[in-house]
Assembly symmetry: C2
């Protein structure tokens, strides 16, 4: 199947297979360079629109989850194929709505399609089902053992709230949507208000792919509206069985509270807030302080610092190498031209949060970059504070979403350790360490892994590889649920739950649990992993 | 090491390695046959006791989780060995406190030690860590791929609230404690008030095993007190990172609400409420209605029906076979002598809840057994209602903890299907089906697996096998978290979270993630499961 050319956004939501124009208040995305409202206007979903999307998702659910992994993989592959074919118009619209550079957005399309293909591949391995078989032991004394088998099944329809800073890879067809669909869960996206046009184009692409691959209507819908009204209704709808969210701490906490207060509570996977500490160990600083400072500033200012994994905190022990680091970083930050941020609101919040941080006792400004002349302008900023004050003032851990970072200067490694112990939960923690620093690194590692979802050495946290081993998650407040990741194949587990089958006749078992293992999936038989057939145990 | 003889309970809690007598209000367990308060008296833990248990757990945590799986397995094995060696005094005390028959309690000791040994074995396989390795691809274009590795680590100290109906297997050394310790989480148990003496004897055994195997002090403590005070303080303590609970719906919901309202919310695994529907399909009823009725009544009255998996609901289509089933079941229930229940309070609640169910519109009593003359007496009870009324009245799904069951008589399979669709979440769902029933069973299976953690054929739900494939869990209100199980090796996942390691030098990696795989654990390398070594990818 070839892809039809993509016409521009029309202001439509997607409710099942239908493009639907809402009837509520008009909402428009804004060109962050000019502040001008963009065409087309969108209108907020009515209660009936939400009802219809939920009813379709609920109706599609049994068929969708029963389709089998191969059929769902075809659907995901087709979405990927269409997104790649439509890269140019997607990049163009996203560029208009977010001011993110075209090369970055081009890469994001590939990341998004690559992610969909990775989940398709994971579906085909069958490993995601976690199949387990404990064969019957009819001869066991004092009681025979029943035949018990286990697999994971989908939770049900999932509501997805995408992120503003990744209009493609963490939005309508992003990791939450891809992993929920892979799991067999229909998805209803609440379109991000800052890139409504991009969201429409992507939703239309998913809807087309669903039709091309004959998915049941309702596996995907996208609604337009505010978080307070449309978002809240979705989270509270009894047919929604889980929520994926990427955004602010206040937004994530509001959703989590709503989900916990439902008559039937549901899991919320909210990725919220992280300042991503970077630890510079003494020998690394001594041998390459200035070099690290320059590289750090580059990571900090990348994409105006609008990454969940932006290095918003640097921890190090006082030494000449630290002075060299700070000088190089400050020079680079001062020379930074700044860039238009995602929205005027984000730029305002960035300025206010940075000022609040700078105004805390003991915080000094080490450098400040320029700001461009646009409606949503941000400038890079480097602040510094001493270690004792950092450990004593939790407010210094408030995330400033954008290119601001706080350098914590500790008097010795014991103060450094105390600062680490005071850290809240994080998505990442980074160590720059030379060989001579490894004994200290070995002591810090356990503290860091207790506080972060990913620990990395001698790099910068801003790149999040999509693979099997990635964890993009971490303890609160990085996320509301540290037991999972929103990036990488493990993300599918968020939308599954285990079911056991006891003495179920073979013909009624799901294929992946039958003795002969017709799909050749990985299973644990009496605990032992393998891909072979199983048979009744001879062990009593 | 041999086991010292076990002296009787003294009224002590266990705070780290120390037996500690509380200073609060006196609490005693009661002989449910006589209502007499039992010696010794226990005293509620003070705020300082709770503080000390939490501080010790927190201090023990880094060392305990770093010990390595083999060392923790030795600890669990030693607990199992000591419990087996002390079977007789444990059974005797538990019998006094719960009135459960000695043979049943003897089996429960074996179940408890077997469970501990199963987790020890699971630790040794390493599979529980979910190790994943995505080797670096230095030559990948446009950007090289970093080396990323993943494993699961322990969440931190866990609070456990045991169940009254399994004073050994779901209490102080039960499944929650065994799986949390296996994961590397220190455990603080809130002793169950109905079997304080048994709880003390078991806690002492765990403490001894911890000393015998040189575990850090604080890996285990047990506190005495009410759920409202001691329980609430534990759940709200910032050092507690997860909760395991088995008990009433009101208790589970109160804990879940408290945990969600913490400044740092934590996961709660509460197993609460399930009526375990049993579906009798037409041909099975026709060919063996009476036989099924007798077997059902046996499962219903086992242990006075005091099982989470007690068959509290029977669903079937009107037919002569159903009449035969009801008659046989009613005869058996009427002939049942009853038995002393776990506590006078449970017996009162059982009587009141059964009366409330019997008083609902359209409910009729089909049979009632005798009740023995004891302080906590219960009698078996069989009620019946028609299918339309069942689907329309959610109150008919209220759990009556004890040997009461409701038979739902449906006019046809479509009414049966509607009744199934109306079901809340369950631990189990059972089908009795002959070959000719399989087409109907195939239609019902998806509805049942969406509503239950375990689906079983041609048996009774009351036996819960401890193995790799078991799921003892299910959608709300069966549990607060359907993504897990409280029985079987998968239960360990409740207390773990994934961490990724990016470009971490080999010497600083946990052993199970090093290329050479020195522990020989199962890992997914670039997604492919295996037990071999890994090496840098040659794929670009």
């Amino acid at each position: 199947m070839s892809a039809l050319p993509l016409t521009g956004p029309t202001g439509a939501m997607a409710i099942g297979a239908e493009p639907v124009i809402g009837t509520g208040e008009e909402i428009r995305s804004v060109d962050p360079r000019t502040g001008a409202a963009l065409d087309p206007g969108f209108r907020e979903a009515s209660a009936e629109d939400i009802e219809r999307a939920c009813a379709l998702a609920q109706r599609a659910f049994p068929e969708f989850r029963a389709l089998g992994a191969e059929r769902r993989a075809e659907f995901l592959d087709r979405v990927a194929e269409l997104l790649d074919a439509r890269r140019d118009p997607l990049v163009e619209r996203a560029h208009t709505e977010t001011a993110l550079p075209r090369p970055r957005l081009t890469g994001e399309v590939s990341r998004t399609s690559g992610q969909l293909r990775l989940f398709a591949a994971e579906l085909r391995t069958g490993a995601w089902q976690g199949a387990r078989i404990d064969p019957a032991r009819p001869g066991r004394a004092p009681l025979p053992r029943a035949d018990i088998r286990q697999r994971r099944i989908a939770l049900g329809p999932v509501a997805v709230f995408g992120a503003g800073n990744f209009p493609l890879a963490f939005s309508t067809a992003g990791g939450d949507t891809a992993s929920a669909l892979a799991a067999g869960c229909p998805v209803i996206v609440k379109a991000h208000q800052a890139h409504l046009g991009t969201a429409e184009l992507v939703a239309r692409t998913i809807t087309e792919a669903a039709a091309d691959t004959r998915m049941p209507e309702g596996v995907f819908s996208q609604l337009v509206g505010s978080g307070e009204v449309v978002g809240a209704r979705l989270v509270q709808d009894p047919r929604i069985r889980a929520v994926g969210f990427t955004g602010s701490r206040s937004g994530g906490l509001a959703i989590a509270a709503m989900a916990a207060a439902r008559p039937v509570p549901i899991p919320v996977y909210a990725e919220m807030s992280s300042i991503n500490p970077v630890l510079l160990l003494p020998t690394a600083l001594e041998t390459r302080g200035a070099e690290l400072g320059t590289a750090f500033a580059q990571s900090l200012t990348l994409g105006s610092g609008q990454f969940c994994t932006n290095p918003g905190l640097v921890l190090a022990v006082e030494a000449p190498g630290l002075d060299a680091f700070v000088k190089a970083a400050a020079d680079a930050v001062a020379a930074d031209a700044g860039a238009t941020m995602l929205t005027p609101g984000i730029a305002d919040h960035y300025a206010a949060a940075g000022d609040a941080l700078a105004a805390r006792d003991g915080v000094e400004e080490a450098a400040r970059g320029s700001r461009p002349d646009s409606a949503a302008c941000g400038h890079a900023r480097l602040l510094a504070v001493d270690g004792a004050r950092f450990a004593a003032d939790p407010e210094l851990q408030t995330e400033v979403f954008g290119a601001t970072s706080l350098i914590v200067r500790c008097t010795d490694t014991s103060e450094l350790t105390e600062a680490v112990e005071a850290l809240e939960g994080q998505l990442t923690a980074t160590l720059h360490a030379d060989e001579a620093d490894h004994p200290l690194a070995a002591k810090l590692m356990p503290l860091l892994e207790e506080r972060a979802g990913r620990v990395l050495f001698d790099g910068w946290p801003t790149g999040v590889e999509v693979g099997h081993a990635m964890v993009h998650g971490g303890p609160f407040p990085a996320t509301t649920d540290p037991r999972s990741t929103s990036v990488g194949t493990l993300a599918i587990e968020r939308f599954l739950r285990p079911v056991a089958y006891q003495d179920v006749p073979s013909a009624l078992l799901p294929a992946e649990l039958r003795d002969e293992n017709p799909l050749g999936v990985w299973r644990r038989v009496d605990g032992e992993p393998g891909r072979g057939a199983s048979s009744a145990d001879t062990v009593p």
